[in-house]
């Protein structure tokens, strides 16, 4: 084989690193403008419509582990996020006894293949938090700048929901939402009593078609397995593959980018990557380089892009590259609903996520913490697979016989089997997802002592929650109890207290990490400008969540998509004007 060829002769117009939400959107918009594009992806190609890639609708007995998670698929054997918290040969480290867990997906479409499809716009306040509470910093752009792109994303990709007219939860172009499930109606009773709003969710799943290329949802609840009908959004099925069909887009898979190459004038000239296939180094050339490798991975590439022109790496002289890393907060609680024991059976799969949710509803000026959270709900008659019938050593006592006597915990036999059937579908719960305050001291940097198996220096994390997040988690726990109790549920487990930071998940665990290449007008306090263009390297752009100045209590994907679209249009414009 001709492995001696290590440099491509003809440059592309644009090289995009990463094929997730940001890279995928860039590949579509840039190729539609007629540009030649290379998408460089660290994992393999993936298409859920191909039988060999399909896990949707497979019953658990097709898996020897009955769908249990593995290291490479922590969310289950059929989940379509290949990678996980720890990837063999691709380590990361932590500093000063702090914790940050880094979730990566190595595949076309990245983490969009399995995510919850919760597709929320940031609201006007979410771009100007510092002006409201004096903490952190404002974005250099506001909702008005992004609104046209959110509108376009809604129509291109599809999202269901309802127009609510809530100021900081902007409405969009919504498809009809599905009706609630039974446990959601019970929970709504509790939320109503507590005067907490609960509205139809906003998820990027096609309850009706938006074009003739993608199918509609057939309600299997398995969006995390990626949809063979393309009825949910993932970057591979909705952006990268369509772009490859229509435009000049080449996809390089199993290709791990080491650095952005630059010339003596400090211009990016392309990327250097290691092929996982033969473990050799290759170079691609381009007029523009776009990083969409995920917030931390893109900042890692910039840190490692050292050269004569950039002795500390690209963007490093800002002093904030890798800084202000922040993830959403998360805490949960569950209960059991006596009214749902012995419930009637019907197909309750629905869409792959909740049908109703709670947007942030309070004013932080009247609270002892700065930022809000939304609440996600779960429960119902889900597919029995690994874990089914579990926990009866503690749960069986909630089942009562006809005389009101509780079953004993544990046990065995026909009685246990019947009790498991009786309790099925009666547990429910909720999780808060909140906004944290971005901190200079929460960061990733290059670990000077560790490299991955490709010889690329790895990231070292330093992250601590502040009192703001801890008090927010405490508030979540109080709210969860109020809703569950009001709904008529019996609370399960002990209420998480200060010893566990009120059940606050470790940083990174909610997989909404952002902020490491944040945007701003001042090159001394930001890595990229308001067009996501590196201050110190005019033909280098970042299209993942790295440029976020603050991560609202919303899931970041819809904003990544809108920003990437806007950045891509800016790139086309700047190329036309010969500014880059």
């Amino acid at each position: 084989m001709s492995f001696q060829i290590k440099t491509s002769a003809e440059p592309y117009d644009v090289i995009i690193v990463g094929s997730g939400a940001g890279g995928g959107m860039a590949s579509k918009i840039l190729s539609e403008a007629g540009l030649s594009v290379a998408v460089v992806e660290a994992g393999g190609d993936f298409d859920p419509a191909k039988e060999e890639d399909r896990t949707q609708l497979r019953p658990p007995w097709e898996s020897p582990r009955r769908g249990a998670g593995t290291k490479i698929r922590p969310f289950g054997d059929f989940d379509q996020a290949i990678g996980g918290w720890e990837i063999d040969g691709e380590p990361y480290t932590r500093k000063d006894g702090t914790q940050f867990d880094w979730f990566r997906s190595r595949m076309v479409g990245g983490r969009t293949n399995h995510w919850g499809r919760i597709s929320l716009r940031f609201g006007p306040n979410d771009f100007k938090r510092a002006s409201i509470d004096g903490l952190g910093h404002d974005w250099p752009i506001g909702y008005d700048e992004l609104k046209p792109y959110y509108d376009k994303v809604d129509k291109l990709i599809g999202v269901f929901g309802t127009k609510e007219g809530i100021y900081n939860e902007p409405d969009g172009f919504f498809l009809p939402p599905p009706k609630p499930r039974l446990h959601e109606l019970f929970i709504k009773k509790g939320a109503d009593k507590a005067a907490i709003p609960m509205i139809p969710s906003r998820l990027s799943m096609l309850t009706r078609p938006i074009n003739n290329e993608r199918g509609v949802c057939f309600f299997c609840a398995q969006c995390n397995r990626a949809c063979q009908a393309y009825a949910d959004f993932s970057a591979g099925t909705c952006l990268v593959h369509p772009a490859m069909k229509k435009g000049k887009v080449d996809l390089y898979t199993h290709s791990m980018v080491r650095k952005v190459t630059t010339d003596d004038q400090g211009k990016a000239t392309g990327v250097s990557f290691i092929s996982k296939v033969d473990m050799k180094e290759y170079k691609l050339k381009s007029r523009v380089v776009v990083l969409g490798a995920s917030a931390c991975e893109s900042s890692r590439i910039m840190m490692n892009s050292k050269s004569k022109s950039y002795p500390n790496g690209i963007g490093a002289d800002s002093g904030v590259l890798g800084r202000y890393l922040h993830d959403s907060t998360g805490a949960s609680r569950s209960g059991i609903m006596p009214d749902l024991i012995d419930r009637e059976r019907y197909n309750e799969d629905g869409v792959g996520g909740m049908h109703m949710y709670t947007p942030w509803w309070l004013d932080n000026k009247k609270l002892d913490f700065a930022r809000g959270y939304h609440i996600e709900y779960w429960g119902g008659m889900g597919q029995p697979s690994y874990g089914a019938g579990g926990g009866m050593d503690a749960m069986r006592k909630y089942i009562k016989d006809e005389f009101g006597n509780p079953s004993p915990n544990g046990g065995y036999g026909e009685g246990l089997k019947k009790d498991i059937r009786r309790i099925y579908g009666s547990t429910l719960g909720m999780s808060g997802r909140g906004e944290s305050v971005p901190m200079y001291d929460n960061y990733c940097e290059i670990d000077p002592n560790v490299v991955d198996k490709y010889g690329i220096p790895v990231l070292r994390f330093h992250y601590k929650w502040t009192d703001q997040e801890i008090k927010q988690a405490k508030h979540m726990q109080d709210t969860f109890e109020e809703i569950l109790t009001g709904a008529g549920a019996t609370l399960l487990g002990e209420k998480p207290g200060p010893d566990t930071l009120y059940g606050l998940a470790a940083p990174g665990r909610i997989i909404h990490e952002v902020g490491t290449t944040r945007m701003g007008n001042d090159p001394k306090s930001s890595v990229v400008n308001s067009n996501c263009q590196a201050h110190d390297c005019k033909n280098l752009f970042v299209v993942d969540a790295g440029p976020f100045v603050s991560q609202a209590d919303k899931n970041p994907t819809w904003t990544i998509l809108a920003l990437s679209w806007r950045t891509s249009e800016y790139i086309v414009d700047q190329l036309k004007q010969k500014n880059i």
Binding site: F3, I5, S8, E10, D45, P48, E52, W61, E62, P64, R65, R66, A68, F78, I82, D88, M107, D151, G158, T162, F174, P176, P177, P178, K179, P180, L182, L185, P200, T207, R208, I210, N211, N212, F218, D250, L251, Y252, H254, S275, V277, L284, Y346, E348, V351, Q383, P384, Y386, G387, A388, G389, G391, A394, P408, G413, E414, L416, K417, I420, R421
Partner: protein, 234 residues
């Protein structure tokens, strides 16, 4: 073919998948021939295929242990008029696989199975596998009831909880388990809300505010169109 096309071929064609196996030892290559015979299907990486095949080839439980396990899983999930027993559903094979897939459970599981012989010898002067059904139940009862168990059996209770969980996992994740549970999903359908009789039974109703906005099944084939304010008009 220019240089870029050549390079492109290297990474975009069929070359990528499969080449990761090139460095394999001879026995790994032998395993490779058996891929997809029992491993999970659907978008597997080469590492996953190799791992599944390797785990399926290995044996964890001894014959004696497997016999103990079969006795126990059928006590936990016996056959009844509606459903088969755990051994009929091959639950021991599932537990065997899980021991290799999640090796942290190996020591506690093996420890629990060994304890059975200690207890059988103490009480009846025989190995566990030679006990009568009644004698077996006497031993199981020592550890099967977390709230009634004597304090000295707390370790055994923990082990039996694990065994109960694994048995239930292996039982209800089968076609017969789904049937017993009454699970009706995992198939294409149209969700149109909770059935009316179920709503009535619980005294609940869909929020009226949204009754015109919820998906109507008959609209599922119509391509969505909006006015400029985002109202659905078609």
């Amino acid at each position: 073919m220019n240089r870029r096309e050549n390079l492109k071929l290297l990474f975009t064609g069929s070359v990528g998948a499969g080449l990761l196996l090139t460095g394999c030892e001879p026995e790994q290559e032998a395993v490779q021939g058996q891929l997809m015979t029992g491993g999970t299907p659907g978008g597997r990486t080469d590492e996953e295929k190799l791992r599944d095949a390797k785990l399926l080839e290995e044996t964890f439980f001894t014959e004696e242990e497997k016999k103990k396990l079969s006795t126990l899983v059928d006590i936990i999930m016996p056959a009844d008029s509606e459903s088969p027993s755990a051994t009929e559903l091959k639950v021991p094979d599932f537990i065997e696989f899980m021991m290799k897939d999640q090796p942290n459970n190996q020591t506690p599981m093996r420890g629990g199975l060994m304890w059975l012989d200690f207890e059988a010898d103490e009480k009846f002067g025989k190995p566990f596998n030679e006990l009568t059904k009644e004698q077996v139940i006497q031993i199981v009862d020592l550890v099967a009831w977390p709230e009634k168990a004597a304090p000295e059996y707390i370790g055994g209770v923990r082990w039996f909880n694990m065994l109960r969980n694994l048995t239930c996992s292996g039982y209800f994740s089968t076609e017969a388990g789904w049937k017993y549970m009454g699970y009706m999903g995992n198939q294409a359908n149209v969700w149109d809300g909770v059935p009316q009789n179920v709503l009535d039974k619980h005294g609940l109703s869909n929020p009226e505010k949204y009754s015109d906005l919820f998906l109507k099944p008959e609209d599922r084939a119509k391509v969505a169109q909006w006015d400029e304010e985002g109202n659905l008009i078609g």
